[in-house]
Symmetry: C2
Subunit: 107 residues, 2 copies
C-alpha cells in the first residue's frame, strides 16, 4: 500500500503523469520559467533567483534533468545548460494531445 500502482495503467498514461509530476512543484515551474526566458545558457545563480537552499535547487534540477528537459554540460564547476527544445516541444505536444481529446457535450 502507499505506492502508485503504475502497472495497471498504460505507458502513455504513465508518461504523461510522469511529465506532469515534474511540473507539479512551483519551484520547478519557476526554474523552467527562468531558464526558458534566458537568452543564453544558464551558468549558476539559480539559488539566488529562486530562493531555496542550494541542495534543494540541485534536487529540483535533477528531477527536471531526469525527463530530459535540460541539455548542456553538467560537469565541472560552472555548469552550462538550457532547455532541451526537442523534449520541450514533445511535452507541449503530449499535453496538448491530452487536452484535445475531448468528446462530449452534456450535463
Amino acid at each position: 500500500m502507499g505506492a502508485t500502482k503504475t502497472h495497471i495503467f498504460s505507458i502513455p498514461q504513465n508518461e504523461l503523469a510522469q511529465a506532469a509530476k515534474v511540473l507539479a512543484h512551483p519551484a520547478r515551474i519557476a526554474i523552467l520559467d527562468y531558464i526558458s526566458k534566458q537568452e543564453n545558457c544558464i551558468c549558476t545563480d539559480l539559488v539566488d533567483v529562486i530562493g531555496l537552499a542550494q541542495p534543494t535547487i540541485s534536487q529540483h534540477l535533477n528531477e527536471i534533468k531526469k525527463i530530459g528537459l535540460l541539455k548542456g554540460t553538467f560537469e565541472g564547476k560552472n555548469l552550462c545548460y538550457c532547455i532541451n527544445k526537442e523534449k520541450w516541444t514533445e511535452l507541449q505536444f503530449f499535453f496538448n494531445s491530452f487536452f484535445s481529446n475531448i468528446n462530449q457535450n452534456c450535463c
Copy 2:
C-alpha cells in the same frame, strides 16, 4: 521543513503547479481519459474501468473536482458528471502558454 514553500512563488506558478499535480498520477489521467471520451455523462462504473478500490477512486475524483475539472450532479446514489469544458480549455491554455514561453537557442 517538508512542506512546499508556496509563498515564495508567484500565483501563476503555484496555479500551474497545482494543475500539474492533478495530472501527476496515472489513475487521474486514466479517469480523465475515460470521462473525456464518453459521449454522455458518467454514472458509476469507474471502479471497474480503472481497477483501484472504490475509496481510492473516490479520492482521485475529489482531487480532480477540487480544481473544477468536473461538473454535474454529485449527490445521490448515481452521480452524473462530466468534464467541465471551460476549465478544461483554460488548463489547456495555461499549459500551452507555459510551453510557448521559450526564448533561446543555445548549447
